[in-house]
Symmetry: C2
Subunit: 163 residues, 2 copies
């Protein structure tokens, strides 16, 4: 796998360098970042483990509001929720593997259990995760609020604040 | 996207629950985890930012030795290397989006610049990243050593030590 992976990446980086189609301004980075968020079925949630080591887990990309807010559905009993209760600093990462693009959003997470938030992310059959239904105490909603973003494309990357 | 994503995930979780094909022992988790690492073109590297927030970036999955060691190629001047010089705690995450599988490896990273390590990950055309060639001071190799793993599949997850 490795040889092919590197050769493909090098070829793509060379083409991109020659074409000069790289992201150089914040407006384009935000637009392409939002496009990536809109089309992604999953994203990666980064948290700080109880031992201080970084942790990553794939999450369903269920709902977002621009690049500022992202909501996740999770089990209250999960390791992630226990970690976030102690340290709510987080990041969310979206990747477009085929086009060598990535968006990292850095911010904080609020753990919600109010009925409106629960209903917002509920779907028929979600009892497979939360057997007691929409009011299951083991059902929590994570609300991520971004403060900063990094957009990666090929050889370039651009950092910007999220207002 | 969100509605479809959740419905697909629920359906897959229900089928998997009914079939009872979930991972329950460490040997299977290690075997399936290794299979995922073997076939992945990219993985996500988690680090701790200078402000203490978790950071994630996609990396090319170039070379590994079982689940214990993973090597990455990167720019010495990159933000990642600066972060790792201050705090070398890291995690590496592999995901199989279609089958709702994920593997998180937690460990530490050593920054290498010796010629053997450089040559090991070098490929023709890699000057697009490191213009001065295999001895470019801006070319570093990251060697990740895992101490613990988490394998996720559908509704289950299993934690085990990496010897």
């Amino acid at each position: 796998m490795s040889e092919d992976t590197l050769k493909k990446a090098i070829k793509s980086a060379q083409e991109s360098k020659n074409k000069g189609g790289l992201i150089t301004n914040q407006r384009d980075a935000m637009a392409q970042g939002l496009e990536l968020v809109d089309k992604s079925a999953i994203c990666m949630l980064g948290t700080i483990g109880e031992d201080g080591f970084p942790n990553i887990k794939a999450m369903l990309n269920l709902r977002h509001e621009g690049l500022k807010k992202i909501w996740f559905s999770t089990n209250t009993s999960s390791r992630r929720v226990q970690q976030l209760k102690k340290d709510n600093r987080a990041c969310v990462y979206y990747v477009d593997e085929a086009n060598f693009k990535g968006l990292m959003l850095v911010g904080t997470i609020e753990i919600l259990q109010d009925i409106e938030s629960r209903k917002m992310l509920w779907s028929e059959g979600a009892e497979v995760y939360y057997p007691l239904g929409v009011e299951d105490p083991d059902y929590s909603v994570l609300c991520f609020t971004a403060k900063q973003a990094n957009f990666y494309h090929q050889l370039t990357n651009l950092t910007f604040e999220i207002e």
